[in-house]
Symmetry: C2
Subunit: 379 residues, 2 copies
């Protein structure tokens, strides 16, 4: 198996881009990644494009091809990949498979989405699920997660709010973030109730944006970051489930740590899927940053701050950087790459050597549709 490196990364600011197309956003991110990697369009062997909603919302299907063509990338295999919020990271995993196997040398991986809705309109997805039609939409599902976590472990509203406070604070340091205003615990708790106990500032937005990376076989530059593990798995259909953890995430994390030969305690910086505040708490537990039930205390202790033991979501996470579903998984990688290169400026985690990115897609009635965990190393 070839060793796989990230040679370049780029992204657009996340937020509202009503006047820009999916292709326009994707092209900007892809150009930035290729320029960062000093890779010419002719040297791209394959394109992997993660997008979750483009056909439904923008009537666009061949997005990977269209972005590639506008950049002069022609006549190569192009994969358009969809796995809900894990679409971008699934595209990365697939590219990693192909490069590690020698199917190609250099790949362009794009995550792109336009999910920001006009005021008053609702983003309708998952209508094929019985549970969704009965009201089991994401805020409701994660409100149940929060309720169960509070009941079982004594996790508090203030601890959950502190995730939002930390991530909005980090977002103020990230020029690509959608939100650049700090919030207080009191503001989070007093913001409008969405699904008890999750208030508005406990929820990530639906955003527009794109991120891209260049993946290559072998190291070409001292700035290259090694992909030490790339794991994709799906959930299981359980009649009774524990809402305070996802089996697939635990499996993905274990496999990633095994493949990378690192322990959770060795992770310096992590980007995790904080679609709702409770998610970051649950993911910190599943990824082994603390024991089950201790995620709230971990946050409250400051250990997950940029200057803490394990910096979590220094980018601002989905909460503050914003959440274009197909793009978030690659934006996480963009952040980890910046951190490991020491190029994260005001939000730099000191001496970050090993980073982790985790994202889940499409929570169904029981377990999640997809979970990816990537471990990246500076060497």
């Amino acid at each position: 198996m070839n060793e796989v490196f990230i040679g370049g990364a780029g992204m657009t600011p996340f937020g509202r881009h009503p006047d820009r197309s999916l292709r326009d956003l994707g092209r900007e991110a892809a150009m930035a990644a290729m320029r960062d990697a000093a890779l010419s369009p002719r040297a791209v062997d394959a394109v992997y494009c993660g997008n979750a909603l483009g056909l439904a919302l923008q009537g666009d299907s061949g997005i990977g091809q269209a972005i590639g063509w506008e950049l002069g990338i022609c006549a190569v295999p192009v994969f358009n990949v969809s796995n809900a919020c894990a679409s971008g990271s699934t595209a990365l995993h697939q590219a990693w498979r192909d490069i590690s196997a020698g199917h190609c040398e250099s790949a362009l991986v794009i995550g792109v989405e336009k999910a920001a809705m006009p005021a008053g309109q609702v983003l309708e997805v998952g209508a094929a699920e019985f549970e969704t039609r009965l009201g089991d939409i994401f805020p409701g599902l994660f409100a149940m997660v929060a309720q169960q976590h509070m009941a079982r472990y004594g996790t508090t509203l203030r601890q959950m709010a502190q995730v939002s406070v930390k991530n909005h604070g980090n977002g103020c340091l990230n020029p690509y973030a959608q939100f650049n205003r700090p919030v207080t615990v009191e503001e989070v708790l007093a913001s409008p109730m969405i699904a008890d106990p999750l208030t508005l500032f406990a929820c990530c937005p639906n955003s527009d944006g794109a991120a891209a990376i260049v993946l290559r076989a072998g190291r070409r530059s001292a700035r290259d970051v090694r992909v030490a593990a790339s794991v994709l798995t799906s959930g299981t259909y359980l009649p009774e489930r524990d809402f305070t953890s996802w089996d697939c995430e635990r499996r993905a994390a274990l496999a990633a740590y095994r493949d990378a030969a690192v322990r959770p305690s060795e992770i310096d910086v992590a980007e995790v899927h904080d679609a709702f505040t409770i998610c970051e708490i649950v993911h910190c537990e599943a990824l082994g940053f603390c024991d089950p039930g201790q995620g709230g205390q971990l946050t409250a202790s400051g250990a997950t701050a940029i200057d803490g033991d394990i910096a979590v979501n220094p980018s601002g996470g989905l909460q503050a950087r914003g959440h274009p579903p197909g793009a978030s998984g690659i934006a996480q990688i963009f952040e980890i790459v910046a951190q490991l290169r020491g190029e994260a400026q005001a939000r730099q985690v000191r001496d970050a050597r090993i980073g982790l990115a985790q994202i889940m897609g499409g929570s169904q009635a029981s377990d999640a549709q997809a979970c990816t965990v990537h471990v990246l190393c500076r060497e």
Copy 2:
């Protein structure tokens, strides 16, 4: 690289299934393929699901996972793949990559779509294209192909109609086909004009249906069919293009023949993308079954009939089997597998040893978005 074999294949009848969900159709095809391969759900290492329109038309995103779960396939990597009409075959190509590389041993590949529209409704896709909004929809595009082919090579309306006559005749022999009524040249020519010179019976329908195959490393049974070549490529963006051939198809065919170490004259049976009658003519040329410009004569000579030199679309093709875009690429493989195993009953091509499947996806302004060519062998 591991040798890759098809161990099982299954499909639903194609046609109108207004009362069945994507998942229901996909499950039927997947179960049939797994039963055919004697593969238990627990032995499936990964799922690759091709679907082009599900999110837009049915609000369904995690289709591969949902089908897998209902069959008891849990906790494995699941890829939802989209490449317009080449969605299913792109999923197959990706599975082939992973098995040939040793990433997994056994994969379930599904193609599924519900594209049949209620009477009076139009299937709207590709709205992101300038050209589409200006009227460059598929019937119009392929009408231009037909016009240019007629002008340059003298291809006749009757020759094109004979593609439809042959394929509708073959469809009468296929229990999975949507249409099982023969048509005559006169009926094809007299059917309502869609886009001059393409009449209704020169066009494939938008259909519902699913097909699935089991892909494995190594041979397990004498009925297994070897994948001798699997090629995916995309087009190039050309300011001026020749409408009578697709550069990406010629490249894909050359690569497939090279990888399989076979010549076009050695192909016994082929399934090609006959979305419109002219397409089959153009594809026969690009695949080297005849010289450029000779596809109409090839058809008229009877050489592409089931008892001809090179049987083309013995299943009835998209014209008669029907065309659920995400499923057609796998239905082609189902047919080639049946032919090479000698299990195609009334439509059996005598002593078929080497088969080929070709499909293209998403014609954009210039070249196609994707083209796959697979070569399968009985040994």
